[in-house]
């Protein structure tokens, strides 16, 4: 007895109902569109500042004394004078921070000594905060040609706040 098989070619194509899938896909698309929040990437500068306590014993000989970075501001909060260890860095904003970076690099180097070096930031009360971040950037390191961060000074702290100028 011959069994008859029906040939399943193009003629027997079953149409798939795409409507539910498209519904779900558009729901997902709407959800992602509405929940998307475009925000700029942010990064951190770590600062360790315990309350000043008297330290027992002699100070460590290998420890660098903290480099004091003095930042003076005018009445509007703009940086007017930048000094590190009695050396002043003046000039246009773009050059000033590069000069500071190069000087810190020459003092502490980019090697192991940099790990123990410490910078103390002493700034006027009214100084705009962005100048402090620029100073921290200049003393912390730089971005190398390959995009890697070459670290310089890692220990950064603030001097006690100065009183506001009336």
């Amino acid at each position: 007895m011959a069994v008859g098989f029906k040939k399943r070619g193009l003629a027997g194509k079953i149409p798939i109902d795409m409507t539910p899938m498209i519904d779900v896909v558009f729901q997902l698309l709407a959800f992602f569109c509405m929940t998307l929040k475009i925000a700029a990437a942010e990064g951190d500068f770590n600062i360790k500042m315990p309350l000043a306590a008297p330290r027992a014993g002699n100070p460590d000989i290998d420890q660098f004394p903290p480099l004091k970075l003095r930042m003076q501001a005018d009445a509007q909060g703009n940086l007017t004078n930048l000094m590190l260890a009695e050396r002043s860095f003046n000039g246009p904003d773009s050059e000033r921070w590069t000069q500071l970076h190069n000087y810190v690099a020459s003092v502490v180097g980019e090697g192991s000594a940099a790990a123990s070096a410490e910078v103390e930031i002493d700034c006027d009360f009214g100084l705009k905060y962005e100048n402090v971040v620029k100073a921290i950037t200049a003393v912390s390191g730089r971005v190398g040609a390959d995009g890697q961060v070459i670290k310089l000074v890692e220990k950064i702290k603030f001097a006690p706040p100065r009183p506001p100028v009336p």
Binding site: L29, E42, I47, F125, K128, V133
Partner: protein, 147 residues
């Protein structure tokens, strides 16, 4: 002349390009979406820095304090006039940490201050946190392309 009736005949639409494009869009949004509930206030414009890279791992116990341009402080979604006003909140945070067998020294205070805020006010915030017992601070900045 005979006219053919066009009733039952249906034109099939090719959905393939539309579905391709829609899936591309979904993939794009899935990659971009960030569910992390980072505290970001649009009144705070962060200073930018070439060295500010996003942290490799999330901080263990972060406490975010934000400062707007005029020196007001945003903490836990509430606006406070000055640094002293957030002291009760910090004491509360310390109490919560101690109830979890940890201390204030384990927590990290994230400071998101406006770029034009007075540095002295930022230092006042740090001082108040130190008085409560917090030691670790991190100053947040916006990432920018390196030079």
């Amino acid at each position: 002349m005979k006219l053919k009736a066009r009733g039952a005949e249906m034109t099939e639409i090719d959905y393939t390009p539309m579905i391709d494009m829609t899936f591309q869009l979904i993939a794009f949004f899935v990659i971009l979406i960030n569910f992390a509930d980072a505290e970001q206030d649009e009144r705070v414009q962060l200073p930018s820095s070439a060295l500010a890279k996003p942290p490799q791992a999330p901080l263990e116990t972060p406490i975010t304090i934000q400062m707007v341009r005029d020196g007001s402080i945003v903490m836990g979604g509430q606006l406070y006039a000055d640094a002293d006003a957030i002291k009760p909140l910090l004491l509360n945070e310390q109490y919560v940490l101690e109830s979890q067998d940890r201390s204030a020294t384990d927590a990290t205070i994230i400071i998101r201050a406006h770029k034009d805020a007075k540095t002295g006010l930022v230092q006042n915030v740090i001082k108040v946190c130190q008085d409560v017992g917090f030691e670790k601070f991190t100053l947040r900045a916006k990432s920018e392309a390196g030079y």
